[in-house]
């Protein structure tokens, strides 16, 4: 009984210390007011518990609804996250499919190639994209050399660059769960579908896609959730024209030094993410039940 309790306690203590406590601190800051002090908000515990509690309010959350910068940034983030998840799926599915149907002796190598980019720092890889996408970058030089274009395309510092960055960065998170689902699939199912009158294409839509559904859902959430709060990619590749909530949060925190508003932005972002996270968990659970 005691052992079992200890075993269950470990993840709960982990969650409490590394998630619940920091969240409560952030939430408390979001209810405070900005101040020229260290730390830059008031009230703090030094003012005594009674004063502390009496001076907390939802003013910052009200402020978020008043300035249209914030809800525009949330909406724009949502749009970018949804679209880039969809693009990642379009690119990732054929790769996962090719991997799952590749000869056995190739698979380990292909898997390695998918994971390989993780061996380099994420920041360096995004910087590399700046070198590729800029006006004098590799891509433009190559296209001009080919004679396809005469003037360089403006890609860097546009939303397109953000999409490219997100699709590139999160592609492995899409490929791996889809590959896992396709790899488990019995190829005789496709033969059975063809035997019963399907063309190759119909068999793909009626059998392969439905049976890799769980992989698609898992991959999509694994891309969507981090993409929504993404900060590095829009600030390095997106330029000033791209509005994303991660960037807004950074600016509130470091440029304006307005910790309370930054915290309020973070709390709202978390609330938005709770919905897909819960859906993701439910999908995983359903998958496990189906396998039993």
């Amino acid at each position: 009984m005691m052992r079992r309790f200890t075993l269950i306690a470990v993840p709960y203590v982990w969650l409490l210390v590394l998630f619940m406590v920091p969240f409560l601190i952030v939430f408390k800051i979001s209810l405070s007011d900005a101040a020229l002090a260290i730390p830059p908000y008031a009230p703090t515990m030094r003012d005594g518990l009674a004063t502390l509690l009496s001076e907390l309010d939802f003013e910052n959350f009200v402020f978020l609804t008043q300035d249209d910068l914030y809800w525009k940034a949330y909406l724009s983030s949502l749009r970018i996250a949804v679209l880039s998840t969809f693009l990642t799926l379009l690119v990732g599915y054929p790769i996962a499919y090719g991997m799952a149907r590749a000869p056995d002796e190739w698979r380990a190598t292909l898997m390695m190639l998918v994971i390989l980019p993780f061996w380099t720092s994420f920041l360096i890889r995004v910087y590399a994209w700046m070198g590729i996408l800029s006006n004098e970058g590799l891509l433009n030089q190559f296209l001009i050399w080919l004679g396809l274009i005469s003037d360089p395309l403006v890609i860097l510092n546009t939303t397109i660059a953000v999409y490219i960055g997100i699709v590139y960065t999160y592609l492995p998170f899409m490929i791996l769960p889809i590959y896992a689902a396709l790899d488990r699939m019995d190829t005789s199912l496709n033969e059975a579908a063809e035997d019963l009158g399907c063309s190759r294409m119909q068999a793909f839509w009626l059998v392969t896609i439905p049976l890799s559904k769980n992989g698609i859902i898992a991959g999509s959430f694994l891309v969507f959730i981090p993409a929504l709060g993404e900060f590095v990619i829009p600030s390095l590749l997106g330029g000033s024209g791209t509005l994303m909530i991660g960037k807004v949060l950074w600016e509130e925190f470091f440029n304006n030094r307005d910790w309370p508003v930054a915290s309020a932005v973070a709390v709202v972002l978390l609330l938005i993410l709770v919905i897909p996270i819960v859906l993701f968990q439910r999908n995983q659970q359903k998958q496990q039940e189906a396998e039993q």
Binding site: D186, S188, L189, E191, A192, A193, E194, D195, L196, G197, C198, S199, Q202, L206, V207, P210, L211, K213, A290
Partner: protein, 384 residues
């Protein structure tokens, strides 16, 4: 020992289209060869299969039986030769355009669809009306006694039920030819025997031509109207189960089907269609009849089934062949006992008797000196 269900054919005549030269075969393999790179899977094979047959392809794994079936289904192309279905070459017809359906060894049921949807899958591809599909699926559910499970998913039913869903799904489109790849391989022995009879009943009711692939000789003998014994991409013998068992054309077939004693020796003519086989030093030659002729001194193999050999404590009178030996081992199978009798030269001959008396009253036991005997017509004399 395999047992055969006598086939009930509606007409008075015996069902044997393969003996009638005027019958057109449903399937005709003409000098078909299939190579995978260097490996020859099917070697210049010619074979006719007739409508309404229950045809079994029997052989060890790797003999090419599955390749033959996959060529019929359209999943493998033919390297040389051609395959005809109802007189038309089907070499370039893709699987989805063939009037052939297949029941897969793994059943290949669609896990995301219910039993009903699995059976309806092929019908929906034909763009049949909803009423037609409903009627046909209900008919199939009834045929395979699955009415109660129509809403279940494949993982919610037993192995035997899954097997029946696979059968119903492949029969739903009323194919000219149904291919069954090791259809009972995943079932346990008792269920397998029941299902064999069920398969035969369904084959007779629907009048569909069945081609079954199996490595289980008992299964092939039980269900099939004809059996083709295969080895290394060739067909060694095609015949009815009874003829395969009683008149194998080679030692390979005799050995593959059931239990057999092989006595190897040299033949010498003894009378009309009768030969004496000298088989061991210090032993009298054994006598056997044979319709195929053997030249003087030709190597010959006498194949005799254990149940055709009698065993007795006293020397039997009037036996064509009688040899003395001692009982080395007794395999008690309940209904039958197999005696392993060792001859003075060390050879072991198996003799089988039905246990019509209780075990306590059996008069032969281990180490007993016994006589084994058989008639001149009991065995088959084979050149190779």
């Amino acid at each position: 020992m395999p047992f055969f269900k006598e086939r009930t054919i509606v007409s008075q005549t015996v069902f044997a289209p393969w003996d009638d030269p005027n019958q057109k075969p449903l399937i005709r393999f003409q000098n078909v060869t299939k190579r995978f790179g260097e490996f020859v899977a099917i070697d210049d094979l010619t074979l006719d299969i007739f409508a309404q047959e229950f045809f079994a392809l029997l052989g060890p794994s790797g003999c090419g039986k599955t390749t033959m079936m996959r060529m019929l289904a359209g999943f493998e192309s033919v390297t040389e030769g051609k395959i005809e279905l109802s007189g038309a070459d089907i070499g370039h017809v893709p699987p989805n355009k063939r009037a052939v359906n297949m029941m897969f060894q793994s059943y290949a049921l669609f896990p995301h669809l219910s039993v009903w949807e699995n059976i309806a899958f092929g019908l929906k591809r034909d763009r049949k009306s909803k009423a037609e599909i409903d009627a046909r699926v209900d008919e199939m559910l009834k045929l395979t006694r699955l009415e109660k499970f129509s809403k279940r998913k494949p993982h919610q039913i037993s192995g035997g039920q899954r097997q029946r869903v696979a059968l119903a799904r492949s029969l739903a489109k009323a194919p000219k030819l149904l291919l069954l790849d090791e259809p009972l391989g995943a079932l346990d022995k008792k269920l397998r025997q029941d299902t064999q009879f069920e398969l035969m009943d369904i084959q007779e009711t629907t009048g569909t031509t069945f081609v079954i692939v199996t490595h289980d000789q008992e299964e092939a003998m039980t269900v099939a109207s004809r059996v083709a014994v295969m080895d290394e991409g060739r067909i060694i013998q095609v015949a009815t189960p009874a003829n395969i068992y009683e008149y194998p054309n080679s030692v390979y077939v005799a050995d593959f089907i059931g239990d057999v004693n092989i006595i190897q020796g040299t033949a010498a003519a003894k009378g009309p269609e009768t030969y004496a086989i000298t088989w061991a030093d210090g032993q009298a030659p054994v006598t056997a009849t044979s319709k195929t002729s053997f030249s003087e001194g030709q190597e010959a193999h006498l194949a005799i089934r254990p149940e055709k050999i009698g065993i007795s404590a006293q020397k039997p009178e009037n036996a064509d062949n009688a040899l003395q030996g001692k009982v080395l081992d007794i395999a008690y199978l309940g209904n039958l006992s197999t005696y392993h009798v060792q001859l003075p030269g060390g050879q072991i001959i198996k003799a089988q008797t039905a246990n019509t008396r209780r075990i306590a009253r059996r008069d032969i036991t281990w180490e007993d000196p016994v006589w084994i005997s058989w008639s001149a017509t009991a065995g088959v004399l084979l050149a190779q």
